[in-house]
């Protein structure tokens, strides 16, 4: 406990959360709206980092899990209209089941094949949504009858609280014995097994946890947006953004992933006056960080402390 209190990371996090909590007092509703979406993205990236940074598996299809959660919640809300939290739970459950169905066979493969399977899963989901347009709205997408709130501040609070709770849970998990075993499995599978750990079991568990958070965040995002479409939650480019955010913020840091996602979305927003150049500049910055600070921004800061 004392060690935790002395950790600079904790105090930085506390300050960041306090600043974030004070934003509704003075920030424009427009920017708050952007941040709200960014916070959900932060959870996507943290969930992805658990899998990549800790379990060492590159999931090229984070949007498979996110999309399962989002679309399950949206379809359920449209068809039966239960309370929102029921839709969110259902979305999370389907994301976990889908994640399991994907991970169990895919983890038998090694190297780049796992990544390819996850990539194909996204394409399959995307096609399924287009084919079952009657239920899903197809390429156009669908609106949901319910929303979390119509008040900007309230929506912001939902997202912030969700982000902070997810961050505490995922970060805590990463620092627990389970996180330690997961890291060992990701870094040296053979040695982790020789130390008596069932690596496959731990990796599947990590996949489920990643799916759980992705699913919940995906479902909550559509109840904030009031609509869902392939372009907002499933498209490969969304997945790439989630991945870039996590790498940008720092692999194996969890919190860095959230910061990276917020940074990426805000940067895109602030550079909007550049017009077409905007995406190009953001991508160039991301590329530069990945090339020159492969450990990411937060990873770089932490790493300098490690060399003591």
């Amino acid at each position: 406990m004392q060690k935790l209190l002395r950790s600079p990371l904790l105090w930085i996090a506390v300050v960041v959360v306090i600043v974030a909590a004070s934003l509704p007092l003075w920030m424009s509703a427009y920017l708050l709206g952007i941040l709200t979406a960014a916070y959900y993205f932060g959870v996507f990236s943290m969930a992805w980092d658990l899998l990549f940074g800790f379990a060492g598996e590159v999931n090229f299809g984070p949007t498979f899990l996110i999309g399962l959660g989002a679309y399950t919640a949206a379809i359920l809300d449209n068809q039966l209209g239960p309370p929102i939290f029921v839709c969110v739970i259902a979305g999370a459950a389907v994301a976990v089941i889908g994640g399991l169905a994907l991970a169990v066979p895919a983890l038998r493969l090694s190297g780049p094949y796992f990544g390819l399977v996850t990539l194909v899963a996204v394409l399959l989901l995307q096609n399924a949504i287009v084919i079952f347009a009657h239920w899903t709205g197809g390429e156009i997408g669908m609106t949901v009858p319910d929303v979390l709130s119509i008040d900007t501040n309230e929506n912001y609070w939902y997202a912030l609280v969700f982000l902070v709770v997810s961050a505490i849970l995922l970060f805590g998990l990463s620092r627990s014995p389970v996180g330690l075993i997961l890291q060992a499995s990701g870094q040296d599978k053979i040695e982790a097994q020789a130390l008596g750990f069932n690596v496959t079991k731990h990796k599947i568990a990590a996949f489920c946890i990643s799916a759980l958070f992705s699913g919940v965040a995906g479902a909550m995002l559509i109840f904030y947006l009031g609509a869902t479409s392939v372009d907002t939650v499933i498209d490969i480019s969304i997945g790439v953004q989630v991945i870039i955010a996590a790498v940008l913020g720092g692999r194996r840091t969890i919190l860095g992933a959230a910061l990276g996602a917020i940074f990426l979305i805000l940067a895109t927003e602030f550079l909007r006056p550049l017009g077409q150049l905007n995406t190009f500049v953001v991508s160039a910055v991301a590329l530069a960080v990945i090339l020159f600070f492969p450990d990411g921004l937060l990873g770089y800061v932490l790493r300098s402390g490690e060399r003591e």
Binding site: G172, S176, P177, V178, L180, I181, E191, L195, G196, L302
Partner: protein, 489 residues
Amino acid sequence: MNAPVRLKVDNLSKRYGGLVAVKNVSLELRAGEILGLIGPNGSGKSTVMKLMMGIEPCSGGTITLDGADITRWPSHRVARAGVGIVFQHSRPLHRQTVLENIKLALLPDSLIRLFADRDVDTRARAIADRVGLSAVVNRHPSTLPFADLRRMEMAKAIARNPQVVLVDEPFAGLTMSEVAAFSDLIRGFRDEGRAVLLVDHNVKSVAALVDRVFAMYLGERIAEGTADEVMRNPTVRRVYLGGEITASNKRNEAAAAKPPLLKVDDVSVFYGKAQALDKVGIHVGQGEFVSIVGLNGAGKTTLFNAMSGLVPYSGKIEFDGRNLNELTAGGIARFGLVQCPESRELFGDMSVEENLDLGGQHLTPARRHEQLDWLLELFPILRERRTQASRTLSGGEQQMLAIARALMMDPKLLILDEPTLGLAPVILEQLGRALERLREKSPVTILLGEQNVTFALPHADRVYVLEHARIVWEGDPVRFAREMGTGYL
């Protein structure tokens, strides 16, 4: 000996496709004994260790631990049942401290234990103390010297109190005093009644420690007994030394007098923290045939890789008047220093001819044709196999193809890194004859790295002995037979 048998291996076999890596190996490991499992590179000793640990499934035979059949068990179950392994190379958790790395080994294989038991900390500290890490428990692995990293691996392996400990190359990369400290540690395991298996290249390095030695070659048992018995065993001597040592009688005296083609000065190489070469200096004259002999792990391949620009080094390597540091690996090869690596690196799915053509890519078509004809004459077997995929060749044929491909580059200096690796004696003779013809028919300068002295000596004008990263002897083959012949193994 009547201590109980802990680990028993019966008729163990392992095939990788058509290659038989382990053939009918049977051995017993008793409580309170240290068994040395030795064999040159490619003999299958590491494979046996991996099979025991369940890292790879065996193709045949049984493995029992304390009477229970563990043959098909996955690695983590074998570990839980009481077998620990110390890997030679491992990737520790770099963001965690040494203590946390040791704690990892003490954790239960559980998904729901989010908080470690309180005694884990105490136990981890006790283990750190035991292996001599207590002063550095709060440091990160990347700041540790190499020997301490090895200690940490040792600590992890014994953390769960295994009854059987497998150690892969216990002394690789350690200094003499560190070797002594590690020997004490390993003896400590034996005194506690654990069964210890040491896997190493040669008897010499483990002789002082082991109770018994099991020697392997080409996947099979060749000798078993005390270290002395195994060292005296004629089969073992033939495998390591290649039998009777004969020296070349047609030495190239003139070559030594000419200005050297290759000059290596004070070259040192580190792999992370392990020193692989320590201020090595050699020279090779134009047209000379120089052999570097040394046991596996002495640093031969590292030296060749430094010359070829494949590993960073300190010191200076001059070749044909140029400092090789200025050239890239590809540039060095085109400049005329060509290595035929130990692993051969053939393009398995390409035919013999395609492999050779690739080697001659930078020659003019006419020149390439000429070179190809000459090589097919030198290695007639390759002419017969021209259109066959190189993967389907036998080991000896593959080696000849690898040499031929290197020669296609028309090198000024050809480096042959352990061409005898994994080859049966009868093939060695063929290979030896091919080298003989090569020497007679071409002006190429050759640098040969070998642990098989009998193979290395007959052709050589001059011999270097590399031991523990250092050149310890230099002279002509006749003197080698007299001075080094007995102490080498």
